[in-house]
């Protein structure tokens, strides 16, 4: 686009050669827009209002975590300036807010933007602008595609793998399964469902009923009745927290008692099982990759104590049973670790490079045996889970760590 004369070009390359000769690159401070000697600007969007507002606690937890980091001196002496906007889980709103973050607030990177549809809407834009879209709060499998989208990276285990794990478990444990599926009708729901069907393989016809809902719908009551009437004895519940709670409650109300599999997206006591009713939630099976702080076996774990101290100091009065606090803490820690490793070279390129060089990093809250591993071709940080079922007011883990680690797609 910029037309260079031959002379400018020559002068320019001379200058570059000169600079290369002089600089021991490591000792130099290098910044992209949004980073200075004193500050790192991080952009974020989250649904603080609207149907998916149960996720709002994640944004608040991340904000509180960064405040803690700043209170403790910041990252290599730089304070985090965290700018977060409400997008109401509405893609057009996300587009507008993200454009504001990148072009007007001039953030260094975008962190943990939430939701598959909102992130899909900005996916191309972020990669065109070459601004990191880091550790997004969605497990869609498309975030791990460094060839086409080198500026976007996921964090949690991807939905397709998780769906396949449930499918294998159903085939191994349920006799003559007839499966009913409730699915949010968007890329997130479809990702789970496609993984699930791939896991069923030749038994894909065991799905007797697929019911869908839109994230803008008020309830899923009619879908639940439809599923019960299909005669299914297994229920795979692909829903975000508000709808998960509705589905669990409705199943109990209409006295439908299938073997119930719930996606990890809604593994929250505060946002899902409590509003749905603890009794109605018993024995629901789901995949976990993080510790449940209420599980007595972790009572003395250092990360859980640290988390409890953090919650008491920075988020007094918050509902400790809301899984968003736990998730937000762990993912914010991963970003801080990435930025620490960047040292004084806070360029967007180096951030992606560091994010793609994790080897066995044990982020707090992760279950023992589950670690963060990435590489320039592996953009899936966490790829292992353990199955668990709801028992009382916590989870009971069972089986081995199921890992898909090392796969790049």
């Amino acid at each position: 686009m910029i037309l260079l004369g031959r002379r400018t070009l020559l002068a320019g390359s001379g200058a570059i050669a000169f600079a290369l000769a002089l600089s021991p690159a490591s000792a130099q401070k290098k910044y992209d827009e949004g980073a200075t000697d004193t500050e790192i600007k991080i952009g974020h969007t989250n649904p603080y209002s609207g149907n998916a507002s149960a996720y709002g606690v994640i944004g608040k937890t991340i904000e509180a975590y960064f405040k803690k980091v700043n209170d403790e001196g910041g990252i290599n002496g730089r304070k985090i300036n965290f700018i977060t906007y409400d997008d109401g889980y509405s893609p057009p709103k996300t587009v507008e807010m993200v454009r504001k973050l990148v072009e007007e607030d001039k953030v260094l990177l975008l962190f943990n933007t939430l939701g598959t549809p909102p992130n899909s809407a900005i996916h191309k834009y972020m990669n065109q602008k070459k601004v990191p879209q880091l550790f997004v709060a969605t497990g869609a499998s498309k975030w791990g595609n460094p060839k086409e989208y080198p500026w976007t990276m996921g964090w949690q285990p991807d939905y397709a793998t998780e769906g396949a794990i449930y499918a294998k478990h159903i085939l191994a444990t349920v006799k003559d399964p007839k499966i009913g599926v409730l699915m949010q009708n968007d890329d997130y729901g479809k990702d789970y469902y496609n993984g699930f069907k791939a896991g069923l393989g030749k038994d894909a016809d065991k799905v007797v009923q697929l019911a869908t809902y839109e994230v803008t719908d008020p309830t899923v009551d009619s879908q639940m009745i439809q599923l019960k009437n299909s005669g299914a004895n297994v229920f795979f519940n692909i829903t975000t927290p508000k709808f998960a709670a509705q589905a669990i409650r409705k199943a109990a109300e209409i006295n439908w008692k299938p073997v119930h599999y719930l996606n990890n997206v809604s593994s929250s006591f505060g946002a899902v099982f409590k509003p749905a009713g603890i009794d109605a939630s018993q024995d629901i099976i789901l995949a976990l990759y993080r510790k449940d702080p209420a599980d007595p076996q972790w009572a003395n774990a250092t990360d859980i104590s640290a988390w409890k101290a953090f919650m008491a100091k920075y988020m007094p009065g918050a509902d400790l049973r809301d899984d968003g606090h736990n998730y937000g803490y762990a993912v914010a820690n991963t970003l801080v670790e990435t930025l620490k490793r960047c040292g004084d070279e806070l360029t967007r390129e180096n951030i992606m490079k560091q994010a793609a060089s994790f080897k066995g990093y044990e982020a707090p809250m992760l279950l023992p045996g589950i670690k963060i591993n990435t590489s320039p071709t592996d953009y899936y940080p966490i790829q292992a889970v353990r199955l668990a079922r709801v028992k009382g007011e916590s989870f009971e883990l069972f089986g081995e760590v199921l890992s898909n680690e090392g796969s790049t797609q």
């Binding site: 057009p92 072009e103 549809p117 899909s120 809407a121 996916h123 890329d187």
Partner: protein, 348 residues
Amino acid sequence: MATTATTASSPVTAAARAAGHKWWIWLMVAGLALLPLLGGKTGFISNYGFLQLSLMIVYAIAVLGLILLTGFNGQISLGHGAFFAVGAYTSAVLIDQASWPYWATLPVAAIVCFLVGYIFGMPALRLEGHYLALATFALAVAVPQFLKYRHFEWFTNGVQGINIFKPDPPFGLPLSADQWMYLIVLFVAVLMFWIARNLLDSRTGRAMMAIRDHSMAASTMGVNVAHYKTVVFGISALFTGVAGALHAIIFEFVAPDSFRFELSIAILVGAVVGGIASLPGAVIGGIFVQVIEKYADALTKKLTTAVSLPLDLEPWTIYGIALILLMYIMPMGIAGGLAVLWRKLRGS
């Protein structure tokens, strides 16, 4: 509504206004056209700023469509967001699926929206007043669902929407994409307002207003009421549809969620707040839609912390208060209110 509008646009004042005001309107347009050079080059206005300006102009065109229908023809529509959506999707699908250049999609969006408006208008116009309002409202509610419909997904891409890319300025002009699109939007807006002005000054325009003021009298004078009503509905949809197409191009993204029925209400509120029977009112209405609608939330939050109010205000509080106050102080919209103020100042 109808009586106040008559006085505002009686032939004498309209002609005098047209002659007297023309020079400064063109001066303003020229000033706006130079903004990319003045504000953009100095860095005074960011690219995001230009996007905001473009959106204001786009909403002004959308509001203009509704003003033609409601202010000058007396038909109420609560569903203009639907035509906005049709225009936006027409443009986005043509760019995304058929790789059309963005400018070529504008006339197509205009024609499609005219047809949709005309066809929808035919049966709906048997309905009068609030029945028509309800029918159009139903349209506004139905369109987003329609866009999500499973069997249309191959071209609408369902809830995920369509990403398109903003075109770069041609001939290597030293402008950013946002600045260039701002100029395009401004050009289209001037064209649309010019067409509207000429339409209203023509025989058709006089027939439109006659129908608004007294449809039975109009039909006695030989005006084909049903025909005019349907055509005006189509033209109104055309204006709003062009706005929708421009929105898709500058925003680079369309999704059913962008066109929820709140958009229709926003356009109506913009028209009423701006001045329902006034072309400058459309501009004010467009600015209102973009600024107040989008920033009421942030403004409420800022105010709550600034005055440290003890209660937690809902995001829409400021919006509501602003609307109530405006309707009390300026019942004829901001344009009408300013005109009254101007006359008072000159009179004293």
